[in-house]
């Protein structure tokens, strides 16, 4: 991959985008750009970007127009929950922040990164040099949300963030940083969508969560990009002693997607649960990984994923539980169940247990299959038509994950998207 060759004028525009950044952030970006030049293409056993067509120039987008409708199909613009809306990396809406508890900060990451101590946290969970794409994103990210809950703060409600892409060719590089200090609690729901005209767009998204001792963070993320987009995302948390981080992940995109979520369980007694749902439609390619790394003693993780592939969609789901030496007493559970609805769809579940410690408990369940003939027969034997019976089985299959989505309005929106795509 490469950044499109740019003329001196464009180069000037690119520089201008990042001109107002703090010295610390400029240094971070410069370093990342260098890593990007040096690092080899990352290797994924089931995905490759080599044949994808896209180009991007990280310039500022035009003033967005007419974004309300797309956003309102997902969230209430003036609902009870805090809401930030970014359109092509510009903040266009910031509401519902009146009732934040004392000391809680919710602002754009760009603004927050004026402070060197915030910049110091960038890359502390997802290292800049992890791979070429992460380095690229770290160099050119334009915006996202920064959330900081101080010690003991309990955030009511759910902070909603919408990232809408409407212009192609820029590269969409949203980045979020969530910091929960000791014993604080917060819940975030992060939504990524793009208008259908956005083709051949490259999206790289990074979310870093830093959960301090005893804190509780719930992070939900839904992605729905149109076909021909290329999307790579990493949502990762670092969990300190007795903290808990829960993920709810929905991948509904129709393009080429590689995504990874999970926690580094670095503190004793830390825990992380995940629910994931994937729907592959059309010619979607999905290469998804849930990765739980147990570093500390008595750390716990439990992830369950459900995927439905239809049309010619191709889905791979890896459940990685890595228990490192020293993490005695750790408990790691993963389960993934994938359903293929059409003869041309493909689905693979790849369980991976990497265990370097003796005294641990690990479990794994994986299944890939079609709708069970017995279930269909059973439902139809009660007078339910075949089409309706299939619908019931598929929705039932997804229900446990949908039920875990924290905001009713968003759950309904996701159900609507699923309904539209499954017809």
């Amino acid at each position: 991959m490469s950044i499109t060759q740019v003329s001196p004028e464009l180069e000037h525009d690119i520089q201008k985008v990042f001109e107002s950044d703090s010295a610390a952030l400029k240094e971070f970006r410069g370093n990342a750009q260098q890593r990007y030049q040096e690092l080899p293409e990352p290797h994924f056993d089931r995905s490759s970007l080599e044949n994808r067509i896209y180009s991007f120039i990280p310039i500022e987008a035009n003033e967005p127009t007419d974004w309300q409708k797309a956003v309102e199909s997902l969230v209430d613009l003036n609902g009870e929950h805090p809401l930030l809306v970014f359109v092509d990396d510009r903040l266009v809406h910031l509401g519902g922040l009146e009732n934040l508890p004392n000391g809680v900060t919710v602002k754009t990451l760009r603004e927050a990164a004026q402070e060197a101590n915030v910049v110091a946290l960038l890359g502390s969970v997802v290292p800049v040099n992890e791979n070429k794409w992460i380095a690229l994103q770290s160099a050119f990210w334009q915006n996202g949300v920064y959330i900081h809950a101080p010690k003991n703060a309990v955030m009511p409600g759910v902070i909603q963030v919408v990232h809408l892409t409407t212009q192609k060719g820029r590269g969409t590089f949203p980045r979020n940083l969530i910091v929960a200090d000791a014993n604080s609690q917060l819940s975030v729901l992060d939504l990524y969508v793009a208008s259908d005209e956005v083709e051949e767009e490259l999206h790289i998204g990074i979310t870093e969560v830093i959960a301090a001792e005893g804190s509780q963070v719930s992070y939900g993320v839904i992605t729905n990009f149109p076909k021909q987009t290329t999307s790579y995302w990493v949502r990762r948390a670092k969990a300190a002693r007795d903290s808990r981080v829960d993920f709810t992940v929905g991948e509904l995109g129709e393009g080429y997607t590689i995504g990874e979520f999970g926690s580094l369980l670095e503190g004793e007694g830390s825990s992380s649960n995940g629910h994931a749902v994937a729907l592959g439609t059309g010619r979607a390619h999905m290469d998804l990984t849930a990765k739980m790394v147990h570093v500390a003693k008595f750390s716990q993780s439990d992830t369950s994923a459900r995927g439905v592939m239809q049309g010619r969609a191709d889905g791979v789901y890896r459940g990685v539980t890595h228990i490192q030496k020293g993490a005695s007493g750790a408990v790691g559970e993963q389960s993934e169940r994938l359903l293929m609805l059409s003869p041309k769809s493909r689905a693979d579940a790849i369980p991976m247990l990497l265990i370097d410690e003796n005294d641990v408990k690990c479990g794994h369940a994986a299944s890939v299959g079609q709708i069970s003939e017995e279930q269909l027969f059973y439902l139809m034997s009660r007078g339910i038509s075949e089409a309706e019976a299939k619908r019931m089985v598929v929705w039932g299959f997804l229900d446990p994950v949908l039920a875990a989505l924290p905001v009713d309005r968003v759950r309904q929106a996701v159900v609507q998207i699923l309904e539209r795509k499954m017809n």
């Binding site: 003939e373 139809m380 019976a389």
Partner: protein, 262 residues
């Protein structure tokens, strides 16, 4: 056209995975009647039930089955159900994420047809009263369909479905297996409540026990994929007392299962 339900089976032959199982079954079940089919393991009893309901694994190769004068075998599974056929299965499926109540409401509305849906509140009231009749905890309405139900709870749930859907012909495949005596009485009582001229019942069982509570009008014995003997309640009692060997002897059958003579 009589309003009395009638299932008429003539010379029914069926196979599964190319293996011939049913070898000519003749049987007529009418409204108001209770028939029992008994027989050792592997003699084709469940195959008869599945073939009548239209399970895709079972191919009918000859014979006919008519429900109220209409060709049952030409219908899809769901159509058979909507015409009034019901099968309480030996091994009911579990369906995650679909609540029992929701499933039953959709099934009932499918049976009643578009424009004739049952009002939601009325449905829930009737469902609860039927669950009460079967001594089912109200929470079973909201649980996922059969998921995590014990063997006995699944059987009760089958009878609940029958009570809600009010079929014209009901086939109960081993509805008594795995039930303790109290549960058996409850299930039997549930069946008896529904007995009447509007319903014909075919009970498949190994044990005479349930027939003490649901008195059959006719008892049939199945061996080698055929009905080899028919009689009244006294036949069931005789089987209970003497086992099946005497019938085998009388008929000169050595191996009663369908694998014999293939």
């Amino acid at each position: 056209m009589a309003n009395i339900p009638e299932l008429a089976i003539h010379g029914l032959q069926a196979s599964v995975e190319g293996k011939e199982i049913l070898r000519g079954v003749n049987l007529t079940v009418r409204g108001g009647e209770v028939h029992a089919i008994m027989g050792p393991n592997g003699t084709g009893k469940s195959t008869l039930a599945s073939s009548l309901m239209g399970h895709p694994k079972y191919q009918v190769t000859a014979g006919s089955a008519m429900l109220d004068g209409e060709d049952l075998l030409a219908m899809k599974v769901d159509e058979r159900a909507r015409k009034g056929l019901f099968l309480a299965m030996q091994y009911p499926s579990e369906v995650t994420g679909v609540s029992n109540a929701n499933f039953l409401r959709i099934a009932l509305n499918s049976r009643r047809g578009e424009g004739n849906e049952v009002p939601v509140l009325k449905f829930h009231k009737e469902l609860q009263s039927k669950m009460k009749m079967l001594s089912m905890d109200p929470s079973f309405a909201e649980r996922y369909l059969n998921e995590g139900f014990s063997g006995g709870e699944k059987k009760r749930n089958e009878i609940l479905q029958m009570a809600v859907l009010q079929p014209r012909i009901a086939i109960l495949d081993e509805i008594d297996s795995g039930l303790d005596i109290d549960a058996l009485k409850i299930v039997a009582q549930g069946v008896n409540e529904l007995r009447g001229p509007e319903l014909g019942v075919l009970i498949i069982t190994h044990y005479q026990r349930i027939l003490d509570y649901v008195k059959p009008d006719y008892v049939h014995v199945m061996m080698q994929g055929r009905i080899v003997r028919s009689g009244g309640q006294e036949l069931a009692e005789e089987l209970e007392a003497r086992g099946y060997d005497w019938i085998k002897e009388e008929l000169g059958i050595v191996d009663e299962t369908v694998s014999a003579g293939v």
